[in-house]
């Protein structure tokens, strides 16, 4: 399974999680969802590489905390932050914390897929 075909969704909103999972699976991606950031962090060591779709604003552990933790663990997978704010500072903050990019809700699945592709190609380029 190519890593860019593997998606992990971390979002506390039921609706978003389920709808997004359906949408992405229809696009041929393999999707696994997590309701809580803490659940994902617990599981991550046992997961195969993939793209992390991380919601910024979650009750309990929020997106930035998860992102920082992933950076601390030097996880090489791209993390795309989903924001509802749309304020550039927040996005920039996410990127400076290690996110590959950020995307505002609601978004087109095509936009999302482009982010995913670019994220992996950027990573590949960086590695190279």
């Amino acid at each position: 399974m190519k890593p860019e075909k593997n998606i992990y969704i971390v979002d506390d909103d039921d609706d978003v999680r389920r709808s997004l999972k359906l949408l992405l699976e229809l696009s041929g991606l393999c999707v696994r969802t997590f309701e809580r950031g803490s659940d994902f962090l617990e599981a991550v060591d046992g997961l195969v590489p993939g793209t992390v779709l991380l919601d910024l604003r979650m009750d309990g552990m929020d997106g930035m905390t998860v992102l920082n933790e992933l950076s601390a663990r030097s996880l090489p997978w791209p993390v795309i932050m989903m924001t509802g704010h749309g304020e550039p500072e927040v996005g920039l903050a996410a990127i400076s914390a290690g996110a590959a990019s950020f995307i505002e809700k609601p978004f087109d699945e095509a936009v999302l897929l482009r982010h995913v592709d670019e994220a992996w190609s950027r990573r590949g380029a960086a590695a190279a």
């Binding site: 909103d13 609706d15 978003v16 389920r18 709808s19 997004l20 359906l22 949408l23 229809l26 696009s27 910024l56 604003r57 009750d59 309990g60 929020d62 930035m64 905390t65 509802g84 704010h85 749309g86 304020e87 550039p88 500072e89 927040v90 920039l92 903050a93 505002e104 809700k105 609601p106 978004f107 087109d108 699945e109």
Partner: protein, 682 residues
């Protein structure tokens, strides 16, 4: 006093013998002539004796003294003198022990004792004693007695004489009494007397000086006392003394003198000259007085007056004193600042009252002066030096004399005009702040709404896209169905755009971040809350490092006010009401904690707290905390809650530290971008 009876007897016998001789001798002859001569001499002798007797009697009558002879046992043998006139008892009644009946019973034992001793020792005695007079009073007599012994040394007689010393004794007593009196008076009198000669040399000082200066009295004589005077005062004192001696003018000088304890105390010396018969000064009599306490009190009073005057200047309050008896009114210097240099009295003050206030003020003042109240308060408009009307707050207090009649009024006039203006400004700023806060709150609310709406919109978007994707692969689906779904997707996207645009519009562009002192922000928030009635008994605590944070001032204050108000709300029913704000730096962030001592809440409520429209409050929409979250997260920070049921709640949030200018520049660049976008969309 000795009886003449024996002498008379002898003379009689001589006369009788001569008679017999004459009979014997016959009628003629020289023998008879001799006898007749003897008879003549005898007659002269008897006449002489009689004459002498008369002399003695007269002398005795004039002589107030009593002469007496007593036997060795003290029993009177004979007494000459007017015992009867003195005691009212017959002369004879004094004989034997009869005299004892007239002696004062208290004095008898004393008399006997003295007599026993004096006679026994052979030296005699002298004793004062009282005797009862004809009037029934007692008079003082003095007896002097001498024993007479015979050739063998045996006591045979006691000779004595007694005189009336009553006035004398009383005078002595009076003198002694007055001496005692004087002594006590001098002892009690704190003054220290001294006497000097005409040249100013001290010749006598009261022994009291010794106790005061703790030195030998000799050291004070002559001009020695100057050694005890404080070096700074010595010269002046010397000059004054010399001048007094020279001119004969009264001396009155103050100086410090070294006392027995080693310290210096203030004394005052006054002295005046005593003139001799020739009009020249023969001595100086003076007293020195310890006035140290007086001086200290005077100094303290002067200091207090000075402090009072300075305090008056410092407060710029005008302080006045109005003598009700004379009508004279005095203001301190501060009056010039208010109303110019020509403050001249009550009329001047009256004239400067605003015409609209004058009648009321004067009537109120009149009532105060005449009435029972001791305090008066009045607000009025007063014409200031520059012609403008000042708002004066006048407070006065009535001072009464010992009898209770009003004597003086002291008061202060405070110019509140500036304060009024400042208050007006504060109100204005408050209104502005509220207005801006509302706008800012609206912006925050819009952001919250935006986010909340975005979730379901995003999901809807996904569902629609998924549906479209599923349908697209099914053959025979009518084109309108696909179109409808496509429209649906576009609509949702448009909805999202609308929300975004609206938010940006209301927010008025970017959050403007500035470097703010954290402590100042928190103090301002406290300030707004402290004045509220319900918060009077709340303890407000801070524990803050002095850091600066990069925040949107108004928005972060919104957060602070919101959190604090929630805290105060939570503590409303609590016994202990303490609102505490602390902060600590953590890398590039500052973690701020707002905690209360309210009832706290259960763990499962924590997550729900930030969900909008979820509230336990009867009033309020419950958007407060979610707005806070929006703002905090917009700053890149986090916000979370910790609570212990029954103990209190603390809300933590992080904000960025204001640091290197480089970062600020980036933010400017970022914030600059948005207005452009807003312009585009507008």
């Amino acid at each position: 006093m000795i009886s003449t009876a024996p002498l008379e007897r002898h003379l009689r016998q001589v006369r009788e013998a001569l008679s017999r001789i004459k009979e014997t001798v016959g009628r003629d002859g020289s023998g008879r002539g001799a006898v007749e001569t003897l008879e003549d001499h005898l007659a002269s002798l008897e006449a002489e004796m009689l004459e002498r007797e008369l002399h003695l009697q007269y002398q005795r009558d004039l002589n107030p003294q009593l002469q007496w002879i007593a036997d060795p046992a003290g029993s009177l043998i004979a007494i000459a003198g007017r015992w009867d006139r003195l005691t009212g008892t017959p002369n004879g009644s004094a004989l034997g022990d009869g005299w004892r009946d007239c002696v004062h019973p208290d004095d008898l034992p004393i008399y006997d004792e003295a007599a026993r001793e004096g006679i026994g020792s052979g030296t005699g005695y002298e004793i004062d004693f009282r005797v009862r007079t004809a009037d029934g009073d007692y008079r003082w007599l003095r007896s002097r007695a001498l024993p007479r012994t015979d050739a063998d040394g045996k006591l045979v007689f006691v000779y004595g004489y007694t005189e009336d010393v009553h006035e004398h004794v009383l005078a002595e007593h009076a003198l002694r009494e007055s001496e005692e009196h004087l002594r006590y008076t001098i002892e009690l009198n704190p003054q220290l007397p001294f006497r000097a000669d005409a040249d100013g040399n001290v010749v006598e000082v009261s022994t009291k000086w010794m106790k005061v200066v703790g030195a030998n009295l000799d050291s004070l004589l002559g001009l020695g006392s100057i050694d005890f005077v404080h070096p700074d005062d010595a010269e002046r004192v010397g000059v004054l003394w010399a001048r007094a001696i020279q001119t004969g003018q009264l001396l009155d000088s103050r100086y410090r003198m070294r006392t027995a304890s080693g310290g210096y105390r203030w004394f005052r010396s006054r002295a005046g000259p005593r003139f001799g018969e020739d009009g020249k000064i023969i001595a100086w009599y003076g007293v020195a007085e310890d006035i140290d306490e007086q001086v200290r009190i005077e100094e303290a009073k002067a200091e207090a007056i000075e402090r009072y005057r300075l305090a008056g200047l410092a407060t710029k309050d005008i302080i006045y004193e109005w003598d009700l008896a004379t009508g004279d009114i005095q203001w301190n210097g501060a009056i010039a600042l208010l109303a110019g240099d020509d403050a001249s009295g009550l009329d001047w003050w009256r004239e400067r009252l605003h015409p609209g206030d004058r009648d009321g003020v004067l009537r109120s003042l009149e009532r105060f002066v005449a009435g029972d109240d001791d305090d008066w308060r009045c607000d009025y408009r007063f014409r200031r030096a520059d012609g403008s009307w000042g708002h004066i707050y006048d407070r006065a207090h009535k001072l009464r004399s010992a009898g209770g009649a009003p004597k003086r009024v002291i008061g202060s006039m405070a110019d509140l005009t500036d304060r009024d203006e400042a208050e007006k400004k504060v109100q204005q700023l408050r209104a502005e702040l509220i207005h801006v806060s509302r706008l800012s709150a609206m912006g925050a609310m819009a952001a919250t709404l935006a986010h909340e709406l975005n979730q379901p919109l995003a999901a809807a978007q996904n569902w629609v896209s998924a549906a479209r994707a599923m349908i697209a692969s099914v053959p025979g689906v009518p084109a309108p169905a696909l179109e409808a779904l496509a429209e649906g997707r576009a609509t949702i996207l448009r909805a999202g755009e609308i929300i975004r645009r609206t938010r940006k519009l209301v927010a008025g562009g970017a959050i403007s971040r500035t470097s703010e002192g954290l402590a100042a922000l928190i103090e301002e928030a406290f300030g707004l809350l402290k004045v509220s009635e319900g918060n009077r008994d709340v303890v407000f605590e801070v524990a803050l490092p002095s850091v600066r944070v990069s925040v949107d001032r108004v928005q972060i204050q919104q957060v602070l006010l919101n959190l604090m108000r929630n805290g105060l709300e939570a503590m409303r029913q609590s016994d202990e009401r303490r609102l505490r704000v602390e902060a600590r730096s953590d890398g590039a962030w500052v973690e701020v904690v707002v905690s209360d001592t309210g009832s706290g809440f259960e763990e499962d409520m924590e997550d729900a707290l930030f969900t909008p429209f979820r509230t336990t409050k009867a009033d309020g929409l419950g958007v407060g905390l979610s707005i806070c979250r929006t703002i905090v997260e917009a700053h890149g920070g986090r916000i979370w809650v910790k609570s212990v049921p029954g103990s209190g709640t603390s809300i933590h949030f992080t904000v960025p530290l204001a640091d290197a200018p480089a970062e600020a520049e980036d933010e400017d660049a970022v914030t600059a971008a948005q207005p452009e976008e807003a312009a585009d969309e507008a």
